[in-house]
């Protein structure tokens, strides 16, 4: 805060003509924030670490949806946003492969509930997917923490919603897919 006062008191701010000319060159001192959408509008991002619980209880689809929305809130690069979706797709493929290992007569909701390896396997895959998606969101999260104020929104409602809705729909979809593939 003292810098503006020192300037008022007459401390020299420069006088290096070569540096001044060089600084004026190029686009370094051209406005660029206006093009990107200046105000920090839009909802605050969620805490990336908290997405672990969505993965653990809700599965791959739930955590991928939350991570994708969060990557956009954090203004991650398009490559990393696509990476989040890609990790989710790979995870879903792995979960689908697990379902194909289950005997056909156990491909029911009751069978799913009873098949511990299937549930635990899906959970392990979901947490592994979360780790990749967290790594992809990390640079944007750090940037938000350091330069964007660091505020986060509560993940409770959207997390619970994704966990219950998508956590319920994913196994059903996987069972249907496995049955369709097995004929």
């Amino acid at each position: 805060m003292e810098e503006p006062l020192k300037r008022v008191a007459g401390s020299p701010g420069g006088g290096m003509d070569d540096a001044e000319a060089e600084a004026r060159e190029g686009d370094l001192l051209q406005p660029s924030v206006g093009r990107a959408g200046a105000r920090r509008e839009g909802p605050a991002p969620w805490n990336v670490s908290s997405q672990l619980w969505v993965a653990f209880f809700g599965g791959v689809t739930a955590v991928t949806v939350i991570a994708w929305l969060n990557a956009r809130r954090l203004r991650s690069t398009p490559g990393r946003v696509r990476g989040v979706l890609g990790a989710g797709a790979v995870g879903l493929a792995a979960v689908a492969a697990l379902y194909l290992t289950v005997p056909v007569d156990e491909l029911t909701w009751a069978g799913f509930a009873a098949t511990r390896p299937l549930r635990w396997g899906s959970r392990i895959v979901a947490v592994a997917v979360f780790l990749v998606q967290a790594w992809l969101q990390k640079p944007a999260e750090r940037r938000h923490d350091m330069f964007g104020g660091g505020e986060t929104a509560s993940l409770w409602l959207p997390g619970l919603g994704a966990t219950f809705i998508l956590g319920f729909l994913q196994p059903l979809a996987m069972i249907a897919l496995a049955l369709a593939v097995r004929g």
């Binding site: 810098e3 006062l5 008022v8 370094l28 406005p31 105000r39 392990i124």
Partner: protein
């Protein structure tokens, strides 16, 4: 301006330098001259220091109505807009100041903060490099470079920049605190604790540094030694690793070993949930006692 008013203004400037913003505002009340940009600068800086951004911004704009080319007022206006998240207006103010003095390292650093907040870290790095070439010993430049290094995930570079900052400004509470945070992230809790305690000592009024030091003390407590791996590795990685071990042992028909592993892992997980809040309460009671 009368001698008394001039003395009041001078006293207010000294109080702002000492961080005593409320007292500065009171001193300024003695003979505030609305036609003098310097009065508006002091008022705006003091209000920013008290985190009264809206009033600070108003003061800056009122001062700019008197002197539109006052670099300090443009600087404060940019800071005020930045604190409100109005990045385009912050950029407008800082570029107006840079148009008057493009070789001002502090302004270049401020512009770097603004574009970094907008996600333009590449441009922020170039601005920081330009500012560094102009004033390599400026704490603001080192601070910006450290923040950019941390934001891009380069903890080693961030730690090095914070050490450079502290070499130039050993009394920088923010420098000690941020270096402590970086060291804590790298798992070096003991070294982090020293830095955070120093930050809290240098700026006792800042509750944030004291809170960081207290949290670090929690994680260095002997009761949390079994949880030290969590300082280095994400809990999710430990979970996946544990599941791989358990299911791997079961697949190898080593079920007894798998059960033994579960018997160790599950209590450890429960301990990781329960122990940190308990240690926090224990240390809080000791401080009060």
């Amino acid at each position: 301006m009368s001698d008394a008013a001039e003395a009041g203004l001078h006293r207010a400037e000294m109080l702002v330098d000492l961080g005593r913003y409320e007292a500065a505002l009171e001193a300024l009340d003695d003979g505030f001259d609305a036609e003098r940009p310097r009065c508006w600068v002091v008022r705006a800086v003091a209000l920013l220091g008290l985190e009264r951004s809206d009033e600070a911004l108003e003061s800056a704009h009122r001062g700019l109505a008197v002197d539109a080319e006052s670099i300090p007022l443009l600087h404060v206006a940019a800071l005020g807009h930045l604190s409100r998240g109005e990045l385009d207006l912050a950029e407008e103010s800082v570029l107006a100041a840079l148009a008057l003095d493009a070789a001002d390292a502090e302004l270049l650093c401020l512009y770097g903060l603004i574009v970094a907040a907008d996600g333009q870290t590449g441009k922020a790095e170039r601005l920081a490099a330009r500012a560094l070439s102009l004033e390599p010993d400026s704490p603001s430049v080192r601070h910006l470079m450290a923040r950019l290094a941390w934001a891009r995930g380069d903890d080693d570079a961030a730690a090095e920049e914070y050490r450079e900052l502290l070499a130039v400004d050993p009394e920088s509470a923010a420098g000690h605190a941020m270096l402590g945070a970086v060291l804590h992230d790298r798992g070096d809790a003991a070294a982090a604790g020293e830095r955070l305690s120093e930050a809290a000592r240098l700026e006792p009024a800042s509750g944030g540094y004291a809170e960081m030091a207290r949290e670090n003390a929690v994680w260095r407590h002997w009761l949390l030694w079994p949880l030290r791996p969590l300082l280095h590795v994400h809990g999710g990685v430990i979970y996946v690793g544990a599941m791989v071990v358990i299911f791997g042992l079961m697949a190898l028909d080593l079920e007894n070993l798998a059960l033994l592993f579960v018997a160790v892992y599950v209590p450890w997980v429960i301990y990781a949930w329960v122990a940190p809040p308990l240690v926090r309460r224990l240390l809080a009671r000791r401080r009060l006692g």
